[in-house]
Each structure stands twice: as C-alpha cells, then as structure tokens.
C-alpha cells in the first residue's frame, strides 16, 4: 500500500510579513513545511514503520522553493517526493485536480492533507481533492488506524468528535492531536538530499484571482485602569463580567 502525503511550503509562523505592491512579500528562507501537513507526514511514516504501508510519497504543488518542504518530509521519513512546479498562486480548487492526478499516478490509496493550509487558512483542499478522486474524506482527524484495507478514524465535528470508518482508498485531513511529529534529525536531513525528488511542470488555471493583499493594521487594545486598588479591582471585575464575559 502506498501513502501519498501532501505538503505545502508556507511562511513560518514567526516570519515577518510585508505587503508590497498588493502582494505579500516573504523572504524565501522564512518558509517552512506547513505544521498541519506535518501531522500527515508523521502519520504516514508511522504507518510505514508499523509495516502497514510500503511507500510514502510526499507531494507538493508550488514554486521551486517548495523543494525545501519536500526535503523536510523526506527527512521525516518519506521515501520519495514529487513537486508539481508552478509559479502561479493556485487556490485549493485549482490544485485539487492536479493533486488527484498525482495521487493516482503514484498508486496511492491513502492521501493525507493538512486540515487547513496555514498560509490562507483554507480548509478546502482535502475535501476538494477527495471530490476530484471520488474517494471518501475524513476531515480534522485526531486518530487514525489501519486494519487491512479498513480505515478507522476519529475526527472533530461541530458538536464533539465522531468515529469514522471506510475502506481504502480514502483522503484524510490531519490536525493537531493526531500525533506528535518527530524532529528531522541532522543525519536524516542530510540523507534526504539523496532521496529521489521528481519535478513536473504544472499548468493550471486559478479560479481565485488575488487583486491585492494588505496586512491587517493592528490597533493596540490594551486598557490601563487608573485609581486605587479597590476601584481598579471592581472596574476590572465589571469589565471581565460585562464586556469580556469571561466571568
């Protein structure tokens, strides 16, 4: 059984962002493997280590720099990587078709995708690619087991969590709580450089066109309460109860 795991190269959570001429500008070195996708890579590698999968293929769609995210996935234990290379900003729906095709092409029967993509916070890719593949999807997954061809999962729903099961092939979207991703060790980072990485040019048409982007301006919302201790305390309590509604 082959597992495909989607990885996206997104700005690091600590990266400094600047909006420059209506585009978000980020230094190339400030990108990292999307944390949401990391749970998927970890899940795939654990299934392989448990002898339940034969191969883990990391798939990415994006510009050439996305190779770094794939190398991280390879350092975490993926066996090989495929980059569908494009400089266009493709929305999740535009990515779904090519990702479905690449998943089929590598013979995978389980596709893992981050529950949402950290850069634009979209949770659409997993369900969209499942639709394109015609496979069932389990989203926001926090537990994943594989017994033979049966997938048993637990995932978040609006009012709690739900047990979910289906037969392969399936798409599973991952999130915090599914596992604790390992660190890429330095020897594995170095070995990852020698693992196979295939680049294929991708031409696809974006359905969403970004006209302009700007950073939200942050207003300081701190409030300083003045007065003696008793006055400040009762005013604080009032605000916590009536305004913040946390008491």
């Amino acid at each position: 059984m082959i597992i495909a795991t989607y990885v996206k190269h997104v700005p690091d959570a600590e990266a400094r962002l600047a909006a420059d001429g209506g585009r978000i500008a980020v230094d190339d070195h400030a990108y990292a493997l999307d944390g949401m996708d990391e749970y998927g890579v970890e899940a795939a590698v654990r299934l392989k280590e448990a002898g339940l999968a034969d191969e883990v293929v990391a798939l990415a769609i994006g510009p050439a720099r996305s190779e770094a995210a794939l190398r991280t996935a390879l350092a975490l234990g993926a066996d090989r990587a495929v980059l569908l290379e494009t400089d266009d900003d493709l929305d999740p729906l535009a990515q779904a078709g090519p990702l479905a095709e690449a998943t089929r092409a590598c013979g995978a029967e389980l596709l893992l995708v981050g529950g949402k993509q950290a850069d634009w916070d979209s949770a659409a890719l997993g369900p969209a690619v499942a639709e394109a593949l015609g496979w069932p999807v389990c989203d926001w997954t926090t537990e994943l087991r594989l017994e033979g061809r049966e997938v048993a999962a637990v995932h978040d729903v609006d009012d709690g969590s739900e047990a979910w099961s289906a037969s392969l092939p399936v798409v599973v979207t991952t999130q915090q709580g599914l596992n604790e991703p390992r660190y890429p060790t330095l020897p594995n980072i170095m070995k990852a450089k020698r693992k196979p990485l295939e680049r294929r040019p991708l031409t696809a048409t974006a359905r969403v066109v970004t006209l302009a982007a700007a950073l939200p301006s942050r207003a300081r919302r701190g409030v300083r309460l003045e007065g003696d201790a008793a006055t400040v305390a009762s005013e604080l309590a009032r605000r916590l109860r009536d305004e913040a509604k946390v008491l």
């Binding site: 070195h29 990292a32 770094a68 190398r71 350092a75 660190y183 890429p184 060790t185 330095l186 020897p187 980072i189 170095m190 450089k193």
Partner: protein, 383 residues
C-alpha cells in the same frame, strides 16, 4: 564574495534552532537553579546528531566542517550555554584526537559511541597548578607491564564524573617537558579513577565541572593515543577547532541576551514612551548588535579558513577573543537595559551574564589569545 550561509547549512541551522528552542531552552532555568547533568536533553541531542558534528559519517557522525560546527553550536548556546559547553567538549578534543591520532581499532572502538552520544567525552589537560601553562602538568604515567599506571590530578574537567570516556594527558617522561606528555583514553569505571565534588561556579551550572584523580590507575597499552611524547603537540594542534567552538558559544549567549534586551526596550515604557526611544538605550542596542555581528563574521571566517585547511591560529584566536569579550559586553549591557529587572533571577539576562563570563577564561583566556595573536603578528612581521 558571498556572505550567505549555504542553503544546506541553513536547513540544518533551522532544524537545530527549532530543536534547541523547544527541547533545551525550557530546561535552562531549572538546570541553573538545581544543577544536574542534563542526561535527557543530551540523549536527544545525540539523536539529532549534535554530539558528533565533525566526526565522519563512517563513524556515525555528521562529517560536517567547522563553519557548520560554529553555526550549530551557536544555536545550542542561544538556548542554553551549559549544553553548548558539554557538547563542545565531547564534540571536540576526544573525537578529533581519536580521529586524527587513534589507530583503526581505537577509532572503531570509541568514535561511534561518542558520535552517537551513547558516550559523553571529557578532556583532561588542566591541573591545579597548570592552566594556561599546560606543559607544566604533573600527572605522571609510568610504564608497567602491559600498559601504564597514572597518578596525579586534573582540575576544571567539564562533565567530570558524568562523562564515559576521558582523554587524559600525562607525563611519561618528566625530563622532556612538553615533549614528555602522552595522551590516554580512560573509561569512567577504570579502577583508581575518581572525581571530586562538582565545583560551585558563577554560571553554566549544569555543565558539571569536577577535579579528576588518578591513584595508581592502570591503563592498558592499547588505550594510549598516538606515540609517547606526542600528547601535547596533538592537543595544541586541535586547539583551533575548540576555540572556534567557544567563539560560537559566546555568540549564542550574546545573541540571546541581545534579543531579550531589544524586546524589553520595545515593551518597557518610561516617561511615556518605550525606552528604546532614549538614545542611552538605543545606542547601547546599536553597540551590542554591532559587536555581535563583527564577532560572528570573525568566527565564521576563522571556521571557513579551518575548513579550507589553512593555518588559521591567529584568526581563530581573534574570533575567540572578539566573541567572548563581545558576549560579556553584550550580556552586561543587557542587564543595564533591563535596569533593576536585569538583576533579578526572574528575568533571563543575569543568567546570560553569569554564563558568558567564563568564555573569556576557558580554552585560553583573553590574555592568552592576545599572546597568540601577538606571536603570530611577530612571525609575519619578522620574517
């Protein structure tokens, strides 16, 4: 001329930064207050590959050069200086001397354990009466049937009592001065090998430091490294690498102190504005950043020279001198930027200052670095 680090090294740096900030930084305060040898984090560092950075892959190390060593050690030190000290000792002399002077059997026997972090290495040169004047050491190794018997004591041994392997320099020929010194590798459980209580120190409390005693300790002949009389020369030839490591460590501590001070200067307000707006604070931050940047350039260049196989004794000493003095300057200035809070153990900068202070002392004091630099200048000038 390209001042950017190679992409491959940036990837390793990022991985180590994440690792160090998530695994090492959170235990630094506790280890400073309740000193103990940080076995759990050292184990994780071994798995990361951080305890065999320079040792070739064939022996389970990473096989990286000194530039990478400096970059990665800076990341460890920025999280906690004590971990960087333990790492630099076990990465340094024990592994580099076994690699360059050990027999094939000795390399196979010790290097994989050290490089994987399964064994921590210690280096025993200094003695109570022989610090900067290391050739004056008195520990004696007498030839006996099948090996040697060691008598004497060593001082300021990092990881003393905790390390598994001890690279020891002892006199086999007391008449021959520096040329009468020989290197040996001892296992911790060697009969006759014992350790003093951990020294109480200004900083870097988790980098346990003890005296080491030898009472008629027997060392088999196959645990002698190199030939008799070669010990001092081999140790001196490996000093440059160790000094680059201390320079990198000093940079890491300085960087952490600077980051804390810069943040504090943004957040702390006095007289109605952030204190960074006062030139007294702003100029301090500017000087701190400039000293760090200058020291980092010297350190990376010295490491780069070593990687090219160039003689770099002067440049390495300049880097060590500049980086360690910068670290003390920057940490002291950071305390000043924090004001009274800087003196409080509830804030990190007093610890950075205590941790940084030793960097101008070990692996050659600042004065010794100047002696080395001046001697090299003389050699270049008098030629």
């Amino acid at each position: 001329m390209d001042f950017a680090l190679p992409d491959d090294l940036l990837a390793l740096q990022r991985a180590v930064r994440d690792f160090a900030q998530r695994e090492i930084a959170p235990v630094a305060v506790e280890l400073d207050r309740e000193p103990r040898f940080p076995r759990a984090t050292l184990r994780k560092m071994g798995e990361m590959g951080l305890l065999g950075i320079l040792t070739p892959e064939a022996y389970g190390g990473l096989g990286l050069g000194y530039l990478a060593y400096a970059v990665l050690l800076e990341e460890i030190a920025a999280a906690d200086a004590a971990h960087a000290t333990i790492a630099s000792v076990t990465n340094g002399m024990p592994q580099s001397l076994i690699l360059t002077h050990g027999s094939a059997a000795q390399r196979d026997r010790w290097l994989p354990r050290l490089a994987a972090g399964d064994a921590i290495g210690a280096f025993c040169l200094s003695e109570p009466h022989a610090g900067s004047d290391a050739a004056a050491l008195r520990t004696r190794a007498r030839r006996v049937d099948g090996g040697y018997r060691l008598d004497g004591s060593k001082a300021w041994i990092t990881s003393g009592g905790e390390a598994d392997l001890y690279l020891v320099l002892a006199k086999t020929d007391p008449e021959a001065g520096a040329r009468g010194i020989t290197a040996f590798v001892l296992e911790r459980d060697t009969p006759g090998l014992s350790f003093g209580a951990p020294e109480r120190k200004l900083g870097q409390h988790a980098a346990i430091t003890t005296s080491v005693r030898f009472d008629d300790a027997f060392v088999p002949e196959d645990q002698r490294l190199g030939e008799e009389g070669q010990g001092f020369v081999m140790a001196m030839s490996a000093l440059d690498g160790g000094r680059v490591g201390i320079a990198a460590q000093a940079l890491g501590i300085a960087r952490a102190a600077f980051a804390a001070a810069a943040r504090h200067a943004e957040e702390r307000e006095a007289f109605g504005r952030p204190i960074r707006e006062f030139q007294g604070v702003g100029f301090k931050l500017a000087d701190m950043a400039t000293r760090i940047e200058a020291a980092r350039l010297l350190t990376h260049r010295a490491a780069w020279l070593l990687d090219r196989g160039t003689q770099a004794t002067k440049e390495v000493s300049m880097a060590k001198l500049a980086a360690s003095e910068a670290a003390v300057f920057v940490c002291d200035a950071a305390v000043q930027v924090f004001g009274g809070y800087g003196y409080s153990a509830d804030y990190p900068v007093e610890r950075y200052l205590r941790d940084a202070r030793v960097t101008t002392l070990y692996e050659g004091t600042s004065e010794i670095q100047r002696v080395v630099i001046a001697r090299q200048i003389h050699r270049e000038t008098a030629r």
